[in-house]
Subunit: 232 residues, 2 copies
């Protein structure tokens, strides 16, 4: 009997936003893996720390913040090999995933490498876009709104096409792309309606008024709705 690979959504940052199921699995599996920077524990382990019992085997999947595609692939190849050894020995392995494992989650790299050989179970988690709406007290969408989720890395014309086709949007990982994102939102008359938050659910969370923002870190989200605050 091989072990089961769990993609474990641990939510956007607040340790109280883990699900009961995620906490149960953390208490049942013998092996945990988590993405991490080159040194230290990283964000995912920090979120789950209070719920990790002592004595677990832990695998750090280490990667620099600006690593290239080849480096990323090599890091996940190594992690998949190490995880596979435990699964082959019949030990369940849970991979800690910030937010939801299948919503822009780096777990997908391991899923692509291991799901053809081992049973996989995904435990969905609270996404940062839901946490952003909650923290901003701004409904993301209602009724029959069309919604776009847009990584700010996309080109100006791609961002504009998605915004133009939707009623509401969440623009993720704004960071250094703020001038481009702002230009599109201003052209569409949406900048004044933007709700802006950085580090949602994490220490140092901050909310900005569109008139007061000059730069944003990587972990920042802009929510925008055509109807502004007329939610319904």
């Amino acid at each position: 009997m091989t072990g089961t690979l769990y993609g474990l959504g641990i939510g956007p940052g607040d340790p109280e936003l883990l699900t009961l199921k995620a906490v149960r699995i953390l208490n049942e599996v013998p092996v945990l893996a988590w993405p991490a920077p080159l040194e230290g524990d990283g964000m995912a382990r920090g979120i789950a720390a209070a719920h990790i019992p002592p004595g677990r085997i832990e695998i750090a999947i280490r990667m620099g913040f600006t690593v290239d595609r080849a480096g990323t692939e090599a890091a996940y190849d190594r992690a998949a090999t190490e995880i596979a050894r435990h699964l082959e020995a019949g030990r369940d392995v849970a991979v800690l995933c910030e937010g939801d494992p299948f919503f822009f989650g780096s777990f997908i790299y391991l899923f692509a490498r291991l799901s053809n050989r081992f049973p996989v179970e995904i435990v969905p988690g609270v996404s940062s876009i839901m946490a952003a709406g909650a923290a901003l007290q701004a409904p993301l969408c209602a009724w029959d709104d069309g919604v776009a989720i847009i990584p700010a890395t996309r080109s100006e014309s791609e961002i504009e096409a998605l915004l133009s086709a939707s009623d509401a949007a969440a623009i993720m990982k704004v960071g250094r792309h703020l001038p481009k994102v702002r230009a599109v939102l201003e052209r569409l008359g949406l900048w004044d309606k933007a709700r802006i938050i950085e580090r949602v659910g994490l220490p140092g969370q901050r909310i900005f008024h569109p008139g007061a923002v000059t730069e944003l870190p990587y972990f920042s989200i802009i929510l925008v709705h055509r109807r502004g605050q007329a939610w319904l």
Copy 2:
């Protein structure tokens, strides 16, 4: 001191997908409100039932499934009046919300009526689209994908515009709109890549192959990705 109004995300259906925070608040607040059909407890209370302590004051917000806009507004007016009475008396009130309160949640009707008079706290929850990806073992999106969330009630041209601008999509509440949705997906060469699920996380959950589906209930979701199963 007035009470606090909680919009309490309770996730997509599995009682184990409540967050620790939602369970804590269910144990702390004296008054609960939940959307319900004309008779019986309804889905939201059913999901949270195992975590509701005895002795709570409970308010059923009753509504027929096909009620019109005026009837909806009147039902929420009545519920807001009843909830406001408890908040004015200093009692906290938690409104049970399937999925996430601010992601197509009916809680937004109460938020619009009460947030200018009482403190509100939103507890984000796991959305049905995240649960659909988990159950289908289908990553919703990765990398810098643009994502569209599309209510199937929208017109064929609106659905096509959103799908054309995005890499991945979740089409919600398909039900009787299946022929229209299918026509658009076939025209865009995406139907064969569709992943289809009904009643995700609820009793009677079923998964369909695109070749085998002829009709779907209201609570059904189609996930589709341009890259098919080449997730990354």
